[in-house]
């Protein structure tokens, strides 16, 4: 294999698995270390720069980082990254954070940008463009900003105060709000002479279920996301006593738990798939079951039963799922039919995009499934002035993906309005690689690997939680649990950097490595090299770090897969051929400057670096 080029920022970025898996590439170990040092405001700002909604995401994120977490490969469970983020948000010093918000130029740059929809994607674009002097107009049909974070996520999961604060951080930069204003025509927006338009309207159309009895029972059949929105904006305050939810995603979980809080007594969730393969996140399933809501798996809806013009029950075919060797699922009827009594039924079976308001003659090309044709990197549509992001760009995803889109779209808008190429002039990521050596065998991070298990996040007693849809049901970590959890982080951003010129091939690192990830051997093709390593090398997604030739003609090969970043290789190295170096990777935001390094310790005093 060729020697690894560690000057390529993507090499070490990939070693930080959590950050690499995060759509917005939030520097996770960086902020977890700050939480471990009880520097909550600093941890919050590292998050805020990257993902704009740490308080929201610390409660609601889909957590792509956690399955990627290296600790999950050696320990039973990964680090509770999401709930640690919430710790930073809940314990930050508000005055400190307010003082660190970007300065907004009073002298504007003369360019105006319209943002359609006030969800996470649009707010991220506003957050990135406001400090550069753009004038931003934000349009939304609802009376407050937040988009689906407000309309679809119930308050018992995301308190309004948390959402308001983070939405306001952006709006208070001087965004011109056009709330209660439903944009009915793209043409009318374009006619207003904006220099650029960003569409972040989400995927607002709920899927319906056309089975017998649908029309007759219409009064008591609700569409999941619309129903949640009506509850959130208090157009609806109650529901019948017996509620059936159809669907097995996170929206279904939100619907059933909301129903239980506003009048539903017998609430159940029905899902066509098996319990294991249903789409909802495992922790949301746990929370649902904990509130006494059964999840009925293998229930395929058959009919709405109506008596005297009112919905009284639903019938379901009991099905069986089986998988072929390619993992493809087939669902077969078992012939058994089950009736579930209900006064109301809520359909939570998915959502679609809808762009009836975009005229098809404004230069925006539409492709498959009536979706706009959007560039995957620049988020620009075929009308060069119009950009898309969030669920509106490529279909329903999640908040963190919308934020990532927003940052990239803001870069494109800024480049476009400065006559630069949205494709070729995109800024490189900001990186920083600094030795963490403090002395002989002393490191600037907690190198010791603790054995603690994942800490459980505290919940309110169920009876108390169910009394109102506005009481947050999860209490989260107290500071003691947060510290223990933070120390579980393996610090994968502290990289093992190898200097071949210093190596005397004494094997000290090989002998001490707890997971045997270092091998000195003759170079070979990747497959053969992997088979020669000291430990099984089965995870091909993880790279091999290969040195140039050493004096004996061998090379050093390190399998990044199981490295605990404990620093023992560097401690056992007599010549400092290994060093533990802290790597910070930041996604550069609009403005073309590599992203700033947020906080550094200067003589014990916190200072914000430029």
């Amino acid at each position: 294999m060729k020697a690894t080029d560690i000057s390529n920022p993507e090499y070490f970025h990939k070693v930080v698995d959590c950050q690499y898996a995060c759509p917005a590439h939030t520097p996770v170990p960086e902020y977890i270390r700050l939480i471990g040092q009880r520097r909550y405001s600093d941890a919050y700002m590292v998050n805020w720069e990257s993902n704009v909604f740490p308080g929201v995401l610390g409660r609601t994120c889909d957590r792509p980082c956690e399955p990627a977490c290296r600790r999950g490969r050696v320990d039973e469970e990964p680090v509770a990254i999401c709930r640690l983020k919430r710790v930073a948000a809940d314990n930050k010093d508000d005055d400190d954070v307010n003082a660190r918000m970007p300065l907004i130029p009073t002298q504007k740059n003369g360019k105006k940008v319209a943002l359609i929809g006030a969800g996470p994607a649009s707010l991220t674009v506003a957050r990135d463009l406001m400090p550069l002097g753009y004038e931003v107009d934000l349009y939304d049909e609802n009376p407050k900003g937040g988009g689906f974070m407000r309309s679809q996520i119930p308050s018992f999961r995301l308190p309004e105060t948390v959402l308001d604060q983070e939405v306001d951080y952006v709006l208070d930069m001087g965004v011109t709000r056009h709330f209660n204003t439903r944009v009915e025509s793209m043409k009318s927006i374009l006619d207003k002479g904006y220099d650029a338009v960003f569409v972040g309207t989400g995927a607002p159309k709920a899927k319906d279920l056309r089975i017998p009895g649908r029309d007759e029972a219409d009064a008591n059949i609700h569409l999941g996301i619309n129903w949640l929105e009506n509850v959130a904006f208090e157009h609806l305050e109650s529901i019948g006593e017996k509620v059936v939810i159809v669907g097995g995603g996170n929206t279904a979980m939100d619907c059933c738990r909301t129903a239980k809080r506003i009048g539903g007594k017998d609430v159940s969730v029905t899902v066509r798939s098996t319990y294991e393969t249903m789409k909802a996140s495992p922790w949301e399933k746990d929370d649902t079951l904990a509130e006494g809501i059964p999840i009925l798996a293998n229930h395929s809806p058959a009919e709405f039963i109506v008596e005297d013009g009112k919905l009284v029950a639903m019938t379901f075919n009991i099905v069986e799922s089986s998988y072929d060797e390619n993992g493809r699922r087939t669902i077969k009827d078992t012939g058994e039919i089950v009736t579930v009594e209900c006064t109301d039924a809520i359909m939570a079976i998915g959502q679609d995009n809808a762009f009836p308001w975009i005229e098809r003659d404004v230069g925006i090309e539409f492709g498959e499934w009536d979706m706009p044709v959007v560039d995957k990197v620049s988020f620009q549509s075929s009308n060069e002035k119009v950009f898309f992001g969030g669920d509106a760009a490529f279909g329903p995803e999640n908040i963190i993906t919308a934020v990532a889109h927003g940052h990239q779209a803001a870069i494109s808008i800024d480049l476009f309005l400065n006559d630069s190429s949205v494709k070729d002039a995109r800024p490189a990521p900001g990186t920083n690689l600094v030795s963490s050596k403090m002395g002989i065998h002393q490191w600037a991070y907690d190198s010791a690997v603790v054995d603690d298990d994942r800490q459980a996040s505290a919940h309110l007693p169920v009876e108390q939680a169910l009394t109102s849809r506005k009481i947050e049901s999860e209490i989260g970590f107290d500071l003691e649990a947060a510290f223990i959890e933070a120390e579980r982080c393996l610090n994968c951003d502290v990289q093992t950097v190898f200097f071949e010129k210093k190596c005397i091939e004494c094997d000290g690192c090989t002998d001490i490595c707890p997971t045997n990830c270092i091998t000195f051997t003759n170079n070979d093709e990747e497959g053969d090299l992997r088979s020669k390593l000291n430990a099984p090398s089965t995870n091909k997604d993880q790279d091999l770090y290969v040195s140039t030739d050493l004096p004996t003609g061998r090379v050093m090969v390190k399998d990044e897969d199981m490295c605990l970043h404990c620093g023992l290789c560097a401690e056992r190295c007599p010549t400092s051929a290994w060093d533990m170096q802290q790597f910070l990777y930041t996604v550069t935001k609009a403005g073309n400057e590599p992203a700033p390094i947020l906080v550094e310790q200067v003589g014990g005093k916190r200072e914000q670096a430029a």
């Binding site: 002989i440 005397i504 094997d507 000290g508 620093g567």
Partner: protein
């Protein structure tokens, strides 16, 4: 500074026939200098004992005094151990071996502990052919007392300040051959591919097995001019044979065949497969081995590998006709058969 090793290991780490991963064979974290050859030797012992499917508690680690003699603390934490007086490891091991012949004895010594203060004990344990593996972690200096030349430092080898050693070195391999040792090998801490099979063979040998291992002292004897540095050893090393240890009833998979091969069956049914540098070299011929060793020395080469083996020899227990049952398992009625037996013995002398 790390005082302990993280408890996580590779989740797919292989298990031996006892169902144990190498973790069960580890010891405490080493406090030797970073880069010390002794740590590599500890790691090789772990690999060898794990690979031979020996339960850790069936092993006794014996040592004297010195950096080398600290090292048993860093492997086989669940084995028995005795850190004895300087140079007296052989006699303590002899005593232990007499008390319980069923344990596997690993003696770890250094060049000072063996070639200076322990020289007499070393010579006599060879004569007795005590069933043990005797490992010399040979770095040519007294590392624990700031690096003075030891008795195995080569004549002319320079110390850290540049002064050349005026005295002739004691070659422990030559000495052992001369004293009639039945298994003599030399290796290098930086070559586990050679060292691990040698250790497996040494531990399977029924009798005294010496492995003299060049183990560089990174702190006091790893500079230019030293003949026991990593660089000098790598430049001058010459494996007389490539060794593969072959457990009983397993096929031979030696893949580094150079020159001719020779198979030597060990007492217990295992065997050693050698791929030899030259056809003229026969590791079962003591004269030949001594001659080859001297030839290498004359050419300024460090001869390594399995230098001599005598698979069928009487060890200490057999020479003295001791019972097969370990002493510590013999019951009182066997050990003290009573007055009538005593008088019948006495009667036999009348």
């Amino acid at each position: 500074m790390s005082f302990y090793k993280p408890s996580f290991r590779h989740p797919e780490a292989p298990s031996n026939e006892l169902g144990l991963t190498a973790k069960a064979y580890e010891g405490g974290i080493s406090t030797l200098c970073a880069g010390c050859g002794h740590d590599s030797i500890s790691a090789s012992i772990i690999q060898a004992v794990w690979g031979l499917n020996i339960e850790p508690h069936r092993v006794a680690k014996m040592s004297g005094i010195g950096c080398s003699s600290k090292s048993p603390n860093y492997f086989l934490g669940k084995a028995h151990g005795f850190n004895s007086v300087h140079g007296r490891m052989p006699s303590v091991t002899t005593g232990a071996n007499v008390a319980n012949r069923d344990l596997m004895y690993i003696g770890v010594s250094g060049d000072g502990d063996t070639a200076s203060i322990g020289m007499g004990q070393f010579s006599h344990v060879i004569r007795r052919n005590l069933n043990m593996m005797y490992v010399v972690e040979n770095n040519g200096c007294y590392g624990l007392t700031k690096g003075q030349d030891s008795a195995t430092a080569d004549e002319g080898s320079k110390n850290k300040k540049g002064r050349a050693n005026p005295f002739e070195a004691i070659d422990l391999v030559a000495l052992a051959l001369d004293l009639g040792a039945t298994f003599v090998a030399r290796s290098f801490s930086g070559d586990k591919e050679q060292l691990v099979p040698l250790m497996k063979a040494a531990m399977s040998h029924k009798g005294f097995a010496l492995i003299d291992i060049v183990s560089p002292c990174v702190t006091f004897n790893n500079h230019a001019g030293s003949t026991k540095s990593y660089d000098h050893t790598r430049e001058h090393i010459q494996a007389a044979s490539v060794v593969d240890f072959v457990p009983m009833a397993q096929e031979i998979t030696l893949d580094q065949i150079k020159g001719s091969t020779q198979k030597v069956d060990l007492h217990n049914g295992d065997s050693v497969q050698l791929s030899k540098l030259s056809d003229n070299y026969d590791p079962t011929d003591r004269h030949n081995a001594i001659r080859t060793l001297l030839d290498h020395k004359a050419q300024d080469k460090l001869m390594t590998g399995l230098i001599y083996v005598e698979p069928e020899s009487d060890n200490f227990h057999e020479m003295l006709n001791l019972p097969k049952t370990p002493l510590n398992e013999l019951k009182e009625d066997v050990l003290c058969p009573g007055a009538s037996t005593l008088s019948s013995i006495n009667d036999s002398f009348r």
